[in-house]
Symmetry: C2
């Protein structure tokens, strides 16, 4: 009998760390090879109940390099093959879906996502490289569990917004819809909840996290206006659909007192929790959170 295991394929927010065109104070440390920071690819998890069949939660643009770094996900027998059975999508931002393009080459697997997410994939002809006769698309209804590779998985709405490239005017940034979801994953009596993007912790979301063994939560920005303050952007975290970690209405406060082992994931390149020993890192660690790193294995 196996044991539920998750591997952090990537832990950074969209753009990764360091980000290709950024020399904010945190990226600069990475470009300079400072040992207090480690490069991180874009957020994604691989999960398995038996160590043989794996499900990816999101397919990041860095997926090819992530697979190269993860022996469990490499082909083990035959001329063609892969231990990847399925990909579950939490939305259609570039950092959630672009990696599907790495999974061409006629390996049969299933993409599980909401109808809204599948419709956006269908609208973009480039995803046709995953031919219909090889890669199945399964529309998932929110709050209704389905089974895959020995795990029970349920998608649920998390407060957020439509992807950047579909924004028309000022979007709703904290609405509940099919376009921004979390993943509730259960196997062998253990439970992992993955919420890479959340604009708010509603009572329903808090209740879901109460019963998890492991909670992996949106750690995009430490401070809502950190990108504006360091000159790397014009938007607040909330405008991007991400609540900050710090402050009275931050996630550190909203997730306090949970019994789940808590991890921050989807961490933006500007976020000082990326720096070992920084005051911000010490603050989240003192509150009981772990800052996710690429390659980390987590057994709920």
């Amino acid at each position: 009998m196996g044991r539920l295991t998750a591997v952090v394929l990537g832990s950074a927010a969209g753009g990764g760390f360091p980000q290709w065109n950024c020399r904010c104070p945190v990226c600069r440390l990475a470009w300079e090879g400072d040992s207090r920071v480690r490069a991180r690819s874009q957020a994604s998890l691989a999960a398995s109940a038996d160590g043989d069949r794996w499900v990816l939660l999101n397919a990041s643009p860095d997926l090819r390099a992530q697979l190269a770094a993860t022996p469990q996900l490499q082909p083990h027998g035959g001329v063609r093959g892969s231990p990847i059975d399925a990909v579950v999508l939490t939305g259609t931002e570039v950092d959630q879906i672009a990696g599907l393009l790495h999974l061409r080459e006629r390996h049969p697997f299933t993409v599980y996502a909401t109808e809204a997410t599948l419709a956006i994939l269908a609208d973009n002809t480039i995803f046709g490289v995953l031919a219909d006769d090889v890669v199945k698309r399964e529309a998932v209804v929110l709050d209704r569990p389905f089974s895959v590779a020995g795990m029970e998985i349920e998608l649920f709405a998390a407060p957020g917004k439509v992807p950047l490239y579909l924004e028309q005017g000022e979007p709703q940034t904290a609405e509940l819809s099919q376009t921004n979801v979390g993943v509730d994953l259960r196997a062998q009596g253990k439970r992992l909840v993955f919420v890479p993007g959340a604009a708010d912790v509603t009572p329903a979301l808090r209740a879901r996290l109460e019963n998890a063994d492991v909670a992996m939560f949106d750690g995009t920005l430490f401070t809502d206006d950190e990108m504006i303050r360091n000159g790397s952007g014009l938007k607040t975290g909330r405008r991007m659909g991400h609540m900050p970690i710090d402050g009275e209405d931050g996630s550190l406060q909203a997730l306090s007192g949970l019994s789940a082992r808590r991890y921050y994931i989807h961490i933006n390149n500007t976020n000082p929790i990326l720096i070992d020993g920084s005051p911000e890192r010490r603050k989240v660690e003192a509150a009981g959170f772990t800052v996710a790193e690429d390659g980390m294995e987590i057994a709920p």
Copy 2:
């Protein structure tokens, strides 16, 4: 005064080497760490006339890792910035365009491509992450040079086919159109011609290569049926729009006697020229060709 330089960002065909789901004899060597082979990312070149401003020829799905491996392309000053001025596209296969998605984050640059290629990008809303007010699209007319970053660049039709995801029924596999082009790049009296996909060497293509200092040519398959023979695929190279290297109608023969320094690039994971010292590698080297490798610097 500078000197025209090209850096091989990636040298493999679509899927890279090793390919995520493949254990053909050549991929197996890579998975096993055999020192006769080296991993390769998907084909792309960076070119510069002055070492400061760079133009990418194609944007491969591996671009983020390629930039991480190439200090010349990393940001050097300010909070945001990049030495990348432009991306020139030779078509819209996944391995030619997916890397554009890595170049989001509001860095101004220009995409140069044929009208047909730009139309396919426009059809796929995901490329809207490169906002129109930041990233310019310039439609390029074939055989008409344009200037960028101190270089003169000309696109020309190369025999080939439409991208896989736009095939409807059996496609024309060696037609001349806007959807599969080569790049003719000149600066400081030097000339590099880049043809990552070609189904044939027509007299016009041969004439163009005659006058180049460096020719980088389609090295997808060594033998037309090699994917069928090793059980990794059902298609010949010609069906995919790529002429083989070997044989009477292969590129080795068609490109013989050129004075240009000749490189094979866009090399499929099944191609035995990837193996140091293999009979096939020795054959292409004996004919005066170099097998491109990631990170190689070429000064025409």
